[in-house]
């Protein structure tokens, strides 16, 4: 039994890259099988013994990880063609050879490590927060109905992992499209009873300049790819409706009652 397990291996093909400017290349790895492994533990095994499938010494593969329970989004990569978190990518459920690639929509720093700072920049652009800072206590805000709170919780699950941007055909080097994640946050914060006080301002941020809401081409890959099953396309369509009204208000004027 134990000898049989020891002889079993996991085959991996990893798309690697030395630094942000160098060309990507493929390297094959063959590592001993253990039960209940995920892609992270396979990468740890390579780090422990950085030898490729040809038996040559190589550099350990670089990757990002943090929470290991699919709530932080840091370990996202393209696994067998699909962007997802490597912590919940179980080896036993993956077809071999397992192909690992970086999410190339983002700048690749090294191997599987990408720079997702544009996710944070987007959240800042759309003002994805509820501004309550001031010089005195404003007291408690209005209550949110329970049904709405449950709905909002689903949208708040976004961990800025970047999978929806990787899946989107309109987020690429030729376009400035902000992507679905930050757009859905506009809807979340506009639905918040206190956040709604800045609704028009947030809608304006996704109508202004290049790469805003209107860049969505409705391929709807985002909603299929999202690991948290956030209704991203519903958020986008709802924002389309809200910006339609907002654009009328901008053009014809508004008495600012809603």
């Amino acid at each position: 039994m134990s000898t049989e397990t020891a002889s079993k291996t996991i085959e991996l093909i990893i798309v690697r890259q030395e630094d942000p400017d160098s060309k990507p290349f493929e390297e094959k790895f063959s590592i001993p099988y253990r039960s209940n492994m995920n892609v992270i533990s396979a990468l740890m095994e390579i780090r422990r013994n950085p030898v490729n499938a040809d038996g040559e010494d190589t550099t350990p593969v670089a990757w990002d990880a943090s929470c290991l329970e699919e709530v932080c989004g840091a370990c996202s990569m393209v696994i067998n063609g699909k962007p997802r978190q490597s912590c919940t990518a179980l080896i036993d459920k993956l077809e071999q050879p397992i192909r690992l690639e970086p999410m190339s929509t983002f700048p690749v720093m090294r191997d599987l490590t990408v720079d997702r700072s544009r996710m944070f920049d987007s959240l800042k652009r759309v003002k994805a927060w509820v501004p309550i800072d001031g010089t005195y206590d404003l007291g408690p805000g209005p209550r949110m109905p329970e049904a709405k709170r449950q709905w909002a919780y689903e949208l708040s699950k976004c961990m800025s992992c970047g999978v929806c941007l990787q899946a989107c055909p309109n987020v690429n080097d030729k376009s400035e499209f902000i992507g679905p994640a930050a757009l859905s946050q506009v809807r979340l914060f506009n639905a918040h009873p206190t956040g709604a006080m800045h609704k028009a301002e947030r809608l304006q941020t996704i109508m202004d300049g290049d790469g805003g809401l209107a860049n969505c081409g409705n391929s709807q890959n985002c909603v299929e790819a999202c690991p948290k099953e956030i209704p991203l396309t519903t958020s986008i369509a709802a924002l389309n409706r809200a910006t339609t009204l907002q654009s009328f208000k901008n053009f014809f004027g508004s008495d600012n009652t809603a």
Binding site: G81, K82, A167, P169, N170, N172, D173, K174, S175, Q204, M207, D208, G209, D210, G211, G212, L213, A214, N215, G217, N218, S219, Q220, N221, E224, A225, P231, T233, T234, I236, A237, A238, L239, N240, R241, A242, T243, T244, S247, N250
Partner: protein, 204 residues
């Protein structure tokens, strides 16, 4: 005013595609159907359309200007995408890709179609049943017409679907699903009308 030019262009692109060009397309396909009733009826209908009051104003503001804007901005949109249907072979992603492919096909088809009919008319040719009969007597031209008509009706029907999303008419997944069925029906109906009419010119 804020700099929301891109938002404006995108919305205008969507609006003109349905309200101006789409409406024109439906009228055009309807008038084509007269060919099924026979040569005389078709020529009468063509003459009626030619004699419409404000004809040049209608042509410029409902057809040519919207068409040129939609085509130029549409090309820009189409070539901005990096299609990924091989990795994400979902239905909507295929529709996204086909919308861009059909858009380019329609542009080529319409340019050729306008050249052969409208521009030829400007140089003195008469637009009538016989003109179309002569064009589609060439089987390659007939096939080109059938492909062109199908690409056009697809682009219009699928464009109706995304129009409803773009303007926030269909928000929920269910409404978008229903809209998929409705626009698929529009596609089938218009394709039937278009192809049946063109076949009338070869005597089918």
């Amino acid at each position: 005013m804020s700099s929301n030019r891109e938002f404006l262009y995108r919305r205008l692109h969507s609006l003109l595609g349905v309200v101006a060009i789409g409406a024109f397309l439906v009228v055009h396909l309807t008038v084509n159907w007269f060919a099924v009733r026979g040569e005389q009826e078709y020529n009468q209908a063509a003459a009626f359309m030619e004699s419409l009051p404000f004809r040049y104003a209608l042509e410029i503001f409902i057809i040519f200007l919207p068409l040129i804007f939609h085509a130029v901005y549409g090309l820009y949109i189409a070539f901005q995408a990096r299609n990924n249907t091989s990795r994400f072979s979902y239905f909507r992603n295929w529709m996204f890709r086909l919308q861009r492919i059909s858009g380019v096909l329609v542009l080529i088809f319409v340019t050729w179609h306008v050249w052969e009919t409208r521009i030829a008319a400007a140089f003195g040719a008469e637009v009538n049943f016989q003109m179309m009969e002569e064009i589609v007597a060439n089987p390659i031209a007939l096939i080109a017409y059938i492909i062109g008509i199908t690409a056009t009706t697809f682009h219009f029907a699928n464009g109706l679907w995304s129009f409803a999303v773009t303007w926030g008419i269909t928000v929920t997944p269910r409404s978008q699903q229903i809209s998929t069925y409705v626009t698929a029906g529009v596609f089938l109906a218009l394709t039937f009308v278009g192809i049946r009419s063109i076949l009338a010119f070869v005597g089918v």
